[in-house]
Symmetry: C2
Subunit: 426 residues, 2 copies
Amino acid sequence: MTQLLMAQQGKITTAMEQVAAVENCSAESVRERVAAGVAVIPINSHRNFPARAIGKGFSTKVNANIGTSPSRHKNEEELDKLNAALEAGADAVMDLSTGGDLWATLDLILKNSPVAVGTVPIYRVVSRLFAQKRPVTDMTVEDLLEEILLQAKAGVDFVTVHCGVTRQAMEVLDGCGRLMGMVSRGGSLMAEWMNKTGQENPLYEHFDRLLEIAAEHDVTLSLGDGLRPGAIADAHDRAQLFELNLLGQLAARAYKAGVQVMIEGPGHVPLSQIAADVTMQKKLCNGAPYYVLGPLPTDIAPGYDHIVGAIGGAVAAAAGVDFLCYVTPAEHLHLPSVDDVRQGVIASRIAAHIGDIEKGVSGARQWDEKMSRARRKFDWNTMFELAIDPPTARARRAGSEDAKRDVCTMCGDMCAIKTFERALEK
Amino acid sequence: MTQLLMAQQGKITTAMEQVAAVENCSAESVRERVAAGVAVIPINSHRNFPARAIGKGFSTKVNANIGTSPSRHKNEEELDKLNAALEAGADAVMDLSTGGDLWATLDLILKNSPVAVGTVPIYRVVSRLFAQKRPVTDMTVEDLLEEILLQAKAGVDFVTVHCGVTRQAMEVLDGCGRLMGMVSRGGSLMAEWMNKTGQENPLYEHFDRLLEIAAEHDVTLSLGDGLRPGAIADAHDRAQLFELNLLGQLAARAYKAGVQVMIEGPGHVPLSQIAADVTMQKKLCNGAPYYVLGPLPTDIAPGYDHIVGAIGGAVAAAAGVDFLCYVTPAEHLHLPSVDDVRQGVIASRIAAHIGDIEKGVSGARQWDEKMSRARRKFDWNTMFELAIDPPTARARRAGSEDAKRDVCTMCGDMCAIKTFERALEK
């Protein structure tokens, strides 16, 4: 039984109660939102951890992508990345491993993660083929569905499935004259497989079999945007919107089957188009939770894409995005390091919080108010406790000359707050 | 003769020609905008460097605040900060020194800066008093005007003057119940001086004398926002808007006197209020250039305020802000280091560029397009050359395992761009 089916039957689950406690709302209001399909609680029926909800009215959540690649695969490093993501406050992680012993890495992450774990199953099928020097066309429909079933049984909480990269979608893409073509790994693999085998996307054609697996193990489906723009110039072309439209139809089928579903979004999008992007997704997908990568409102900042992603993410969250996939400073350059993971999660959490202030999420504005009250009182300990990254704030001040005084080295005795207090003296 | 007066007389100056060359427009269109007061070219008549314009239709400019403080004052370090700011692409710097030999530091910066240099003259008057253990109330009207005159003669290109912190403004503030009171150093010093001496703000009362000095040496006035909000909860209260309204009136007087003028803005502002803030400033100040600090749409991220400022700055620039004052990771904690300066400038430049894309600034979208074309072709050298911070992008890739291959360690052979190329093969 999925959270969605139980919600529809009026049952309040332990997961819903856990969500209610952290979101400061009633369990009944959690149930209502899950039942309506405007929120999901990704937790595989074989897993047990404090559940978090993604969707309408809940705080904006942050996902960290971790995992190996063919040229860098050390399980200890992945465990360090998982811990860095958790310490920085990630609400979910995705294991996107494509190198080394894939099952060992996923097992390690599932065992050690107290937050939802997601994957992109096609990566693992194709990684095994590539390791044997075989092409993607050797993948069978059964390989892919079998992989998803195994992962569902192993406890994976949500999976990205590129169901919208259909033969018709590829035809639409053909006329778009994109700068970057496809930048989705899973989507492009599916495109190559389809174009070379002449067959339809199995995740589309056999969507009902996918729903059966997802329903049995309560795996939340994250409908991937294989046709997301990879350059701001490519945003909101016919290919992107064709796919989004199709994902909305598939989301409706998932909902009817009692399967929890969310929609993935871009990607590279100019700043002024981000709010419209969110409005369209909500309309086309009946309010299903929206999970975006970035978005990145410029292409020109490799090395700083966590900042670019935070800019786009804040605007997206304020416009109603429910779930932000972080972007690290390594984006477009290399596999993220442990420190990149930390930087990426913090940047995304800043964006999520700015969105929460605008969404009116419970406690969001109060957090800022508490910080400002502590600042006015020179209560440094409270400022550090309230800081989005307490150790960093603490270490920065500890390393400065005025660390033992109440002022800081920026202004010293010419502190505006102190001057203003004197100005108020009668 | 100021650039404004010459523009009004139909003269095209060398500075206007320099601006036209980099902004890819005609010198006549530069002249028109300066003449209308919707753009300024801050360049003191005693200085000679390639001028840049701030205002309508020009690319969004970035300022870096550098300078000493009483507990940290090393002139070599300030030179390093200046060079870091320039290398990172700052369009202007402000010397906000308050410690050590203030004239030596300013001289050093003026001698070495090929971009406009700004100051806050009251800092220097009060720093001297504080160094002698004397209170701000010992400052005389003549001390302040004399300091501004000396700096004008020395070549300072723009000065922040808190003319709007009047006795009436303080009365308005009194009823606002702010969390943070005043967070402007210059503004709070003026408030203390007024409240304790019982006199009116000399920069307001003697505004005409200020205009005479500015006109004679072509010092651009940056009308400071002493009542800017220092917490998002304080944004857009009566005190902030009373001062902005007054600054608009003073800007009109400066314009009539042939003095170039821009307006300073906040500060801490919730994301959804940033665009409205810009709209109000443009209306109340007859389109005078807007120079904002941040803005910061959340208070809770000490150690990461460059990211918070980039989020607010991008939205502000997209809404029409002309000039961004950077915020560094040191904000709210300590005086910025050389590396903080670099990080701050890059973050603000990202915000400025995202704004430029939305403003339709010449060449802005083309920059992104060139980057994406290089990315699709795996032309790493071009990508590095186009990166906002080429050395950082280059070093990151050079340190990764796949640096000698065309792919990167994120995806290796499972590269979406390569897969998509294969998918297109017939």
